[in-house]
Symmetry: C2
Subunit: 347 residues, 2 copies
């Protein structure tokens, strides 16, 4: 090792991954696509491809057991992984779950966690096929890998967006982030006075968005019914701004996203205003909505725009035109990712 | 959650896995075998199956960075996973690597780790196809999943051993454990006096067994050349005794293992005696050798016994006869797993 010391936060998560993996080459003919999308793509049976993705969730970084019930955590951990395969226009079929836990957890707590995992497996029709279980020095760590399939002709990468394509999102945005704000507020109230009951009334929708997100497997079915194959796709885990940038960077294009088009539920807006947060900021930078962001050719506009699950939020431009958020006065602000950077010291 | 509190160490690792996963059923027709072997088995292309396995390695539990260089750790983490697919009579083709690290690691340290992972990928002809990178509250956590293939007719499970089959191991045993003892001793010396250089001279073989174990992919090729398909197989990660018990339990059989047949390298024996450890104890309970333990039909005896990579160490008996280690005087001692139990409080 040289004497040089580069701190992790100088690179950030995506810079670090690039730095660590740049010397790796894939050599196996069965490996169709390796690092750099929501899932890796391997040769499958007949006209199928096999999809593989993996996620690691750590207590104190990705979840807080003070307000995240273990059953919900199990469900969410599976949803997050299933969502990665949706982002490839594919379906999850199997998962492995590795678990590290400290002795502070009794067996019963882990049974709760696995109840959530099992509920998600039933819901998504996914088989638990393996894993690893070990002790940890501190806290709970979950590592899930998901395996699934897509038909070879329908698999969608981040890199296929073309100039003049339309930018579309499923569902609505910012809810999971506002749910987290409510939970964080009640945690602080509880810390100050443990006798006060948490005030979560009226926040059902945004709490569910945070605590029990659903992977949009239904969107994959709807796209198939509509006979629409997106030109590119990604799931929204780190916030819309971050995902739009990933998609444009991978495709070598620019974009215009229209502020006033962002789909935001009334419950999200109301809570955001209560917290003095601009609802659009929650939608653009909040993350954890696990909706799908995709691009379609103009010829598919009618099919998609008429479906209540989808909102056209902008269009793809030439790479040289840059990536912009356009407000209702027509003013353009350059898009910047404000997504989570777990390596920041203040996290 | 009920009020009952069962401590993790009451169940142990394997009991806990059983408890947590007993309610899960596999439903997908593509899932040929789920939990309970070295790898899960999925439908593959044509006459192949797809194999999937996963392992999690935590600093302070599975490795100690005081004497495990990061490059070696990377190499070993890949070997351990590749070994799981060898145990199915298959070959690894792809891996995913998820990493959680605290800020105490500079980028350069992780580059060392990935150098080791890359060296192993080159050696085993495996592609790195994905992963996840995040920060950790404490220490380094690695979670690796491996994907590979086997031909459908040659895939070997733990459950196929039959009465009168012969019990065979590849290579030699106990070396990795004695290497660990030397490293632990030198760590204590260093802690007492940091000016004393570690005395590792003459321990090259056992240190390599501990720090840079190789998955026995060559054994898979040799078995193919010999036209031997084992009736059952498992890799030796937790010590021979533990693995023999797994194999017999999965197959519903008993066994006799002969003490004097255990293959032990001279370097392992010498060091064991220096440490007042019975070399056979190191071989039976040491673990981390990543050799293969398998059973063959009697008709394959000549082919296997004449190959220098293999040692016949016993034979399979009826389930009712139990599982015994037979010493050179013919005395039988019941086999008990002394493998690692990471949930023991003293660990």
């Amino acid at each position: 090792m040289s004497d040089k010391r580069t701190e992790l936060e100088q690179l950030g998560e995506f810079g670090l991954i690039d730095q660590l993996t740049k010397k790796f080459e894939t050599k196996n003919p069965e490996t169709l696509f390796g690092i750099g999308d929501d899932a890796a793509v391997l040769e499958g049976k007949e006209d199928k491809v096999r999809l593989v993705s993996t996620d690691m969730l750590l207590e104190g970084i990705h979840f807080n057991l003070m307000y995240m019930p273990l059953k919900h955590l199990g469900y969410k951990a599976v949803s997050v992984n299933v969502s990665d395969l949706c982002a490839m226009n594919g379906k999850a079929e199997q998962i492995t779950v590795s678990l590290a836990v400290s002795n502070r957890f009794p067996v019963e707590a882990l049974e709760e966690l696995y109840e959530g995992i099992r509920a998600a497996c039933e819901h998504y029709k996914v088989d638990l096929i393996g894993g690893d279980t070990t002790s940890s020095v501190s806290g709970l760590i979950l590592s899930i890998s998901v395996i699934g399939t897509a038909s070879k002709k329908d698999v969608v990468y981040r890199s296929g967006a073309k100039e003049n394509d339309l930018l579309v999102v499923s569902g609505d945005l910012g809810g999971a982030y506002m749910g987290l704000q409510v939970l964080e507020r009640e945690k602080e109230v509880f810390k100050a006075n443990p006798n006060i009951q948490p005030d979560l009334d009226g926040h059902d929708y945004i709490l569910q968005r945070q605590l029990k997100p659903e992977a949009r497997v239904d969107v994959i079915d709807i796209l198939k019914e509509l006979e629409v194959v997106p030109t590119s796709m990604i799931d929204i885990s780190d916030g819309l701004a971050s995902e739009v940038l990933h998609l444009c960077k991978a495709s070598g294009v620019g974009c215009h996203v229209y502020d006033e088009k962002l789909p935001i539920d009334a419950a999200t807006s109301t809570t955001a205003l209560d917290f003095n947060i601009n609802p659009n900021t929650a939608a653009m930078n909040g993350g954890e909505d696990y909706e799908l962001l995709f691009t379609i050719g103009q010829s598919d506009y009618e099919k998609v725009a008429s479906n209540p699950n989808f909102t056209v939020i902008g269009h793809i431009t030439h790479q040289n035109d840059g990536m912009y958020l356009i407000d209702r006065n027509g003013a353009a602000v350059e898009l910047k990712a404000q997504g989570w950077n777990h390596f920041n010291k203040e996290d």
